[in-house]
Structure formats: C-alpha cells, structure tokens
C-alpha cells in the first residue's frame, strides 16, 4: 500500500510540475498556478482531473488555458484529461502567489493592493508605479487592456501602466 501511495503522490507532483508550463496567454510571465486559477489536480490511474476557476466569467483566456492544460498533459502521455471549471468559491486576487506578485511587477504591471488591509476598498489602488516606484499615481480608466486590469498613470515618470485590480 505504501508503495502505491508513493506512486500516486509522485504522479500528482509530476502533473503539478507539468502544469507550471501553462501560463496566462494575456499575462505571459504568470503561470496559472501563480495566478490562482489552477485550483486542484487529481490523478486517478490514467485519468487526470484539473480544476480551474475563472478570474472573470467572460475572460476569453479561460478557453485558451483549458486547451493549453490539455495539450501539455497530452504531450506528457496523459490522454484522459478532464477539465472542470469551478465558480464557487469565486476567484480572488488574494489567490495570486507572492511569486506571482513579483512576476507581475517585473512585467510592468502593478500587482493588486491588499484589500484586507484596514481602510482599503475594492478594487484598491496601486501601491507604487511598477516602473519608477513613485507612489504618486492617478487613475486613467477603471478598465485596462484586459478585464482584470485598470489603467493608471504615474505622476512622477508620466508613464501609463496597468494595475491588476483587487477582486
């Protein structure tokens, strides 16, 4: 029994590792695990079940993400792949990992502010400009290049930048 458990654990770890290669097509530096979209993985003999939760209901990236998950697993020899889309509990920016925050910042996107902080309100506002770190920023538009982002401008370096909205 111990051997079987070990084998199952190792298959699970392999699948998680494989899925690290799946990134958000609209925010390429960010893996779906770091984005918090990848919720659960189950391996049952030859069948792999992957549970994903959409960031936004109409997010067109979800379709691509599901296809990419399937492709990556198929290439590794897992041919029976079930992708389950789970809505509840609803995705929140709190699920983006610390590594995810760092990757967003490196890509010039201000990561979501902490809405659980005292006095903070949804969708929060960027802590600082991702380019020059100035805290003097202003909102240009509530909506940015994708559903999950708002558009800001830095008053110090004058560059516009995306802010990952808190949700």
């Amino acid at each position: 029994m111990a051997a079987i458990t070990h084998e199952a654990d190792s298959a699970l770890a392999t699948v998680w590792r494989l899925l690290d290669a799946v990134h958000d097509p609209e925010i390429p530096p960010l893996s779906i695990a770091d984005l918090g979209v990848l919720r659960e993985v189950h391996v049952n003999d030859a069948e792999v079940t992957v549970v994903i939760t959409p960031t936004y209901m109409g997010c067109p990236a979800m379709h691509v993400i599901a296809e990419d998950v399937r492709a990556v697993l198929n290439r590794a020899g897992y041919l029976q792949v079930v992708i389950e889309t789970r809505l509840a509990p609803a995705w929140t920016t709190a699920w983006i990992s610390a590594a995810g925050h760092a990757q967003l910042l490196a890509a010039g996107i201000a990561p979501p502010a902490d809405v659980s902080a005292p006095g903070a309100t949804m969708p929060g506002r960027p802590r600082a400009c991702p380019l020059c770190s100035s805290t003097e920023t202003e909102l240009i538009s509530e909506f940015g290049s994708t559903a999950c982002k708002a558009l800001y401008r830095c008053r110090s370096c004058l560059e516009p930048f995306d802010y990952f909205k808190c949700l």
Binding site: P54, M57, G58, A88, W91, I140, A147, L167
Partner: protein, 250 residues
C-alpha cells in the same frame, strides 16, 4: 424540475445576453479609447454571465439545449429579457444612464442570489456581484459627472433618464415565476430589491442634479416575449452566423 425555475434562470440569462450585445456595439465607436475598452470589458462580463446562466437554464430544462442553442437558435418571441436591455444604444448619455440603472439592479440582485437555494445560481451570483460592483462604480461616476456637468451633458442625461424611466418598472413587476422562485428560496422578493434600487438611484440622481421622472407611464412585455421593434434587428445581427451556418462551432 419546475418550469418556473427554467424560466427564471432563462430571463436572467437573456437580460445578460441582450445588454452584453448592446454594449458590444460600442466597440470601436466610443468617444475615446479608455471608454471604448471599458465598454467592451463590461460587455464581455455580461456575455460571460449569459453563458453561465444559459448553460444552467439548459440543464434545468433538460431538453438538451446548450448555451449556443439558447442564444442563437431561438426566435424573438422566445426571448424573455426586459425591454430596457434591448433598447438601441442611443448616445453615450443614454447608454451610461441605462447601464447605471441596470448595474444597481444587478448589484442588489446578485448580492441576494448569493444566498439562493439553487447552488449553481448562487455560485454564478458570487462571481457576478463582484463584477457588478465594479460596473456600478464606473456608471455611477459617469452619471454624476455628466449630470452635474455642462448644460449640454446635463440636458442629455436628463433626457435619457426621462426616456428610460418607464422601462424600469418591468424589472420589478413580480409575476407567477418570481413568486414561485421566492417561495422556494431561489430568488429574493422583488419588492425588496426595488426598495434598495430606488433608494440608491434617487440618492445618486440627487447628487447628479437630475430629477427623478414622474411614474406616469410604463412599458413592459419583454418577459412574455412581446418585444420592441428593435429586438428583431438585434437578433438578426447577433444570430446571423449560426443561422447561416447551422451547427458552426469554434
């Protein structure tokens, strides 16, 4: 599965689909780039929730119809969205005023539906309420800015409000479907939603220096499939691909 349950979810799905379709007409035509993006984003959120709601409606119906069949292969008389959603986009003032009136309704509706006995619906609502809260922030800001703006922007906002007001009654007019859903703990009482909606709307209109119109006319019929003359044109455009190439898929 009760017929009322299917009808209730279908109505929510149709409202989301039709307002999503109207908002998407602004794509490439908004007054400036940021608003163009905002309009398209909001449209996408509505189409996204329409997909979830219509899929759920199809499951409740149990006749094997999926989201695409419900969206693209029904005729005008089978659509049960409120008339407010299908009115043409008009000018920017008209679109934003309608959006605000709908966003406040959606905000309170989905907030209440998070506690629905229908778990799938509660899951969709938990997601939708966050989006509606964001939509509402933007549309309320525009109603204030334009209502309390120049003479021209004020005139246009008041005129849009006067034209839209009589269509809001239909949202809250409870019928047998709403009553059955309320009794089963699936939907909230509409009278309560109307009270919350009216309080928010009147407070914002006052801030925007706009006057609440008289309740001296009302238009309804959308939920029974009796639509305005604009609905057929909207459907013709929305459904043309699937009607011309039946069964077409990605």
């Amino acid at each position: 599965m009760s017929n009322a349950h299917f009808s209730y979810v279908l109505r929510l799905g149709d409202n989301a689909l039709i307002i999503g379709q109207r908002l998407s007409e602004w794509c490439g035509h908004s007054p400036f780039l940021e608003e163009d993006i905002a309009m398209a984003n909001t449209a996408l959120d509505h189409v996204g929730r329409a997909r979830m709601l219509l899929t759920h409606a199809g499951d409740l119906e149990g006749a094997g119809r999926d989201e695409d069949q419900l969206a693209y292969l029904r005729d005008e008389r089978e659509f049960c969205n409120v008339l407010l959603c299908e009115l043409p986009i008009g000018d920017f003032a008209f679109t934003l005023m309608r959006q605000y009136l709908l966003d406040v309704y959606h905000l309170h509706l989905f907030e209440a539906l998070c506690r629905s006995q229908d778990e799938v619906l509660a899951g969709i609502a938990a997601k939708a309420v966050k989006e509606s809260s964001y939509h509402c922030r933007r549309s309320a800001e525009w109603v204030c800015r334009l209502g309390d703006g120049t003479d021209e922007s004020h005139r246009r906002m008041q005129s849009a409000l006067d034209e839209l007001w009589g269509y809001t009654d239909e949202i809250f007019a409870a019928d047998a479907v709403d009553e059955a859903m309320r009794a089963q703990g699936i939907a909230p009482p509409l009278a309560e939603l109307e009270r919350l909606w009216r309080a928010d709307v009147e407070a914002l209109l006052a801030r925007a220096t706009l006057s609440v119109p008289d309740d001296n006319w009302r238009a309804s019929g959308g939920r029974e499939g009796i639509h305005t003359e604009h609905m057929g044109v909207l459907l013709a455009e929305m459904q043309v691909l699937q009607r011309s190439h039946p069964g077409l898929a990605w």
